[in-house]
């Protein structure tokens, strides 16, 4: 708070000097300092009386002046009580560290106030009631530490005391220095202005009072003016800004803010759990899991052979055509699929594709269960039926007033059995590779109908409601499943002859439709020339049954009049009607037959 630099110089120069000269130097030094606003009024006030005496008072008085007007500030005067441990220098109780210039300079002044002759001091001090004794003791210790020449006149302090009195009488709380209110002290001192014998002691006391006042901690912020001023002045001297007087308030504010920022630093948590870290953790688990499974090599090979095709290889071929997800992502998907197949026994599993959503995306795997391992879907339908019955009964009961409505909703279209038709495959989805896979429910014809009519973005959450007109029966998982069914039905193609019907013995004469449900790879398939595949679409056929508009049954597909779907660069020509499957081509008419 004091001009540590200048004071140090003064200390050194002071040794055997006149009392006044150091005072003058200090004055000069202080006037050089960037505290003119406080020193000026002081000087003007003390000018007429004190003349060459500014002495130690100006350095003091600026602070006192500053403190006097600052009485109004939210720092009610208090004793130099719980001083922040950061400023040990300000505590004169502590052994005066010569390292810290503030304390010694402070005590310097105090000691300077003392005249060299100890007796008048002690005599005067003894006259002061007990309350002042502690002050005296401290004082003595300081004097012993620094025997310095003393400084002038107390009536300066007397003057200051007057101002102090007015301000201090209201709000003083001393603890270390003064046990009770100092009013009595002041009243004692007041009738003694100008007495040179008692002057030093008055000066001391006044200084002590002043310092105590400055050290009073604010009840609001825990700071005290002494420390604040000292740190402010330190900062100013370190940085030496231009026009410091103009920005002194800003500096003060910055210093105050700086007190608090330190605490925040230590409280800030080091580890931020960003969402990307969480995703990375999950994906790391994916990679590691692959290694763990290495123990059971045989089992793994067997499963892997059956279920998972070579995802990376297919991705490579698609990439040649310009369709793909990028190598990294495909690899992660591959690991995710592997995780899926390790946990569930599938007959076959395939990466179906990726569906983009607003918040999150879906990665879809098409899975075929082994024979005999059906999922339990039957429950849902039973529940639905019971509900329908219950509702109709309730309606009939209420009926006396309202006319009975004869409307009977058309019977819900029966769902297809699992593993047939549109429900031939089961689909699992996950939002990201590494997240758990969720099985999608089977699709009902009603859902497909409505899914044809609406167009909604996927949000990425399977339980999101679908609000649309016509109202969609189900939530996003059903909608997703319906769209997947439609896409599959429309786009699964294979080269002509790749698949053939499974021929069942003895039942060929029955409905041909029954036999169409299953097909398998044709072992005799020799492959078609690539040029043939490219030039005309007649070599490609849909091997998945097309979903008919009535969707009561799904009918095998003979041909259909859709314009071609070119998902490979190779298939670029207009579409030709194509045969069904090799053995039994059958005409258009049959394929459009609707059965119930």
């Amino acid at each position: 708070m004091d001009d540590s630099a200048s004071l140090k110089q003064e200390k050194e120069s002071q040794e055997a000097e006149d009392a006044e000269r150091p005072g003058e130097e200090m004055t000069a030094a202080s006037s050089q300092d960037p505290e003119p606003e406080s020193s000026e009024p002081v000087e003007s006030e003390h000018g007429p009386e004190t003349g060459p005496q500014p002495g130690s008072s100006p350095p003091w008085s600026p602070q006192s002046r500053a403190s006097a007007p600052s009485d109004g500030l939210p720092e009610p005067g208090a004793a130099p009580a719980p001083r922040s441990p950061q400023e040990p220098s300000s505590s004169p109780l502590l052994p005066p560290d010569k390292q810290d210039p503030a304390a010694p300079s402070q005590s310097d002044r105090i000691t300077r106030v003392d005249p060299e002759a100890g007796t008048p001091h002690s005599g005067h001090l003894e006259q002061i009631p007990d309350k002042g004794e502690s002050t005296y003791e401290i004082f003595q210790s300081e004097r012993k530490a620094f025997g310095r020449s003393q400084q002038p006149k107390p009536h300066l302090y007397g003057q200051r005391d007057a101002s102090y009195n007015n301000s201090k009488q209201k709000e003083l709380r001393f603890d270390i220095f003064h046990e009770e209110d100092s009013n009595s002290n002041y009243t004692l001192e007041q009738p003694e202005p100008g007495i040179s014998d008692t002057a030093p002691s008055m000066l001391e006391i006044a200084v002590q009072n002043a310092k105590a006042y400055l050290l009073k901690s604010s009840s609001k912020s825990g700071l005290n003016l002494y420390d604040h001023l000292s740190s402010m002045l330190t900062k100013i001297l370190d940085e030496r800004p231009e026009n410091a007087v103009d920005i002194i308030e800003n500096i003060s504010r910055d210093v105050k803010m700086a007190y608090f920022s330190k605490k925040l630093d230590t409280l800030q948590s080091e580890n931020e759990m960003l969402p990307i870290y969480e995703i990375a953790e999950k994906q790391k688990a994916l990679f590691l899991q692959g290694n763990l499974e290495g123990a059971d090599q045989e089992l793994e090979d067997e499963i892997a052979e059956n279920s998972l095709p070579n995802v990376m290889e297919s991705a490579f071929y698609f990439e040649q055509a310009g369709v793909g997800l990028g190598t990294d992502e495909t690899y992660r998907i591959f690991l995710g699929l592997k995780q899926l197949t390790d946990t569930h026994p599938f007959h076959r599993c395939r990466f179906w594709g990726k569906i983009l959503g607003l918040e999150m995306n879906y990665i879809v795997a098409e899975v075929e269960f082994r024979d005999g391992e059906d999922e339990e879907e039957v429950e849902e339908e039973d529940v639905a039926e019971e509900r329908d019955n219950g509702e109709s009964e309730a309606d009939e009961d209420e009926e006396d007033e309202l006319p009975k409505s004869f409307y009977k909703a058309p019977q819900a279209v029966p769902k297809e059995e699992s593993r047939t038709g549109a429900n031939k495959y089961v689909y699992f989805v996950c939002n990201e590779p590494g997240r758990p896979w969720v099985k999608l429910p089977s699709v009902t014809p009603a859902q497909i109908v409505i899914a044809r009519k609406i167009k909604k973005f996927f949000t990425g959450r399977l339980d999101a409601p679908i609000i649309s007109y016509p109202p969609f029966p189900g939530n996003e998982s059903n909608y997703l499943r319906a769209q997947i069914a439609r896409i599959s039905a429309g786009t699964h193609v294979s080269p002509l002859g790749f698949y053939q019907f499974v021929e069942e013995e003895g039942e060929e004469e029955e409905e041909v439709e029954g036999g169409r449900d299953s097909f398998e790879e044709n072992p005799d398939f020799e492959g078609i020339q690539v040029t043939d595949l490219v030039e005309s679409l007649s070599s490609w056929v849909h091997h998945v049954q097309h979903i008919l508009p009535q969707r009561f049954r799904i009918h095998p597909l003979g041909q259909h009049g859709y314009p071609q779907i070119s998902f490979l660069n190779m298939l670029l020509q207009s579409f030709d009607p194509t045969f069904g499957l090799e053995h039994t081509p059958f005409p258009m008419a049959e394929s459009l037959k609707i059965s119930t």
């Binding site: 960003l274 969402p275 990307i276 995703i279 990375a280 990439e319 040649q320 055509a321 310009g322 369709v323 793909g324 997800l325 990028g326 990294d328 992502e329 594709g353 990726k354 983009l356 607003l358 918040e359 999150m360 995306n361 990201e432 070119s566 670029l572």
Partner: protein, 240 residues
């Protein structure tokens, strides 16, 4: 995507399923360099690909110093030879709005559209059917323009405006922080500002005139027509 960082940007955009085969990528790299040299562009951007029945169009755009000046658009069928497209006009937009369906892939293909036009001959007024021919090239131009106006976005801070007018790439732009990247307001439409003048003075007071000279995405109608996809861990993609 900047021609210089093409491969990296392609990787990032691959999450949506659209990618380029390795041969196309390689040919793009070389041909875009040549385009930049020949046409003397400051930056060449690979705009994308428009799928057609017979062939696909690969589109690139060249920018001069001023980033917001109208861009020159080029197209190519094989990623090696590029041809300049004429700039889009209002008239073109109106004309091509009647054409629906897929692109053929042949730039000289002409769509036929029959219109009823009133002809007056003397005293009689009758309608005649007129068949209007619309070239595929025109349609291409207007479609590209529409897409640009709707979805070309740029993050806040990537471009800045100098007092003299031209708009420069901000070399000190480091990317958006994670919290900023999640907000729609940190992205702007990459075109001349339309809504900016209508903002109240209070809103304008918060804006920095050197950075906020384009329309933000926040006020788009319908809301959330553009959503931010955080799938990619290192950066955020913006997609429709």
């Amino acid at each position: 995507m900047d021609a210089e960082s093409l491969l990296l940007s392609l990787e990032l955009a691959s999450g949506s399923g659209q990618g380029l085969s390795p041969d196309r990528r390689a040919s793009l790299l070389t041909s875009l360099m040549l385009v930049k040299r020949d046409y003397r562009y400051d930056r060449v951007l690979f705009w994308g690909r428009i799928l057609g029945l017979v062939a696909d169009y690969y589109i690139a755009q060249g920018l001069s110093e001023d980033q917001l000046a109208p861009r020159k658009t080029l197209y190519s069928l094989n990623c090696m030879e590029w041809s300049l497209l004429p700039p889009a006009t209002e008239e073109m937009m109106v004309q091509t709005s009647v054409v629906n369906g897929r692109f053929m892939g042949d730039p000289s293909h002409e769509y036929e559209h029959t219109e009823m036009q009133k002809m007056t001959e003397g005293d009689r007024v009758f309608e005649e059917e007129i068949v209007v021919q619309i070239k595929e090239e025109t349609r291409l131009v207007s479609v590209i323009d529409q897409i640009d106006k709707a979805v070309a976005i740029i993050p806040r801070g990537a471009l800045f405006k100098t007092p003299f007018g031209p708009i420069h790439v901000n070399r000190t732009f480091d990317g958006l922080s994670l919290s900023e990247a999640k907000k729609l307001s940190s992205y702007f439409h990459f075109k001349e500002a339309v809504e900016l003048k209508d903002k109240t003075l209070l809103e304008k007071a918060d804006l920095d005139p050197s950075l906020d000279f384009m329309d933000s995405l926040e006020h788009d109608i319908p809301k959330a027509s553009l959503d931010i996809d955080q799938e990619d861990m290192e950066q955020a993609d913006g997609h429709n």
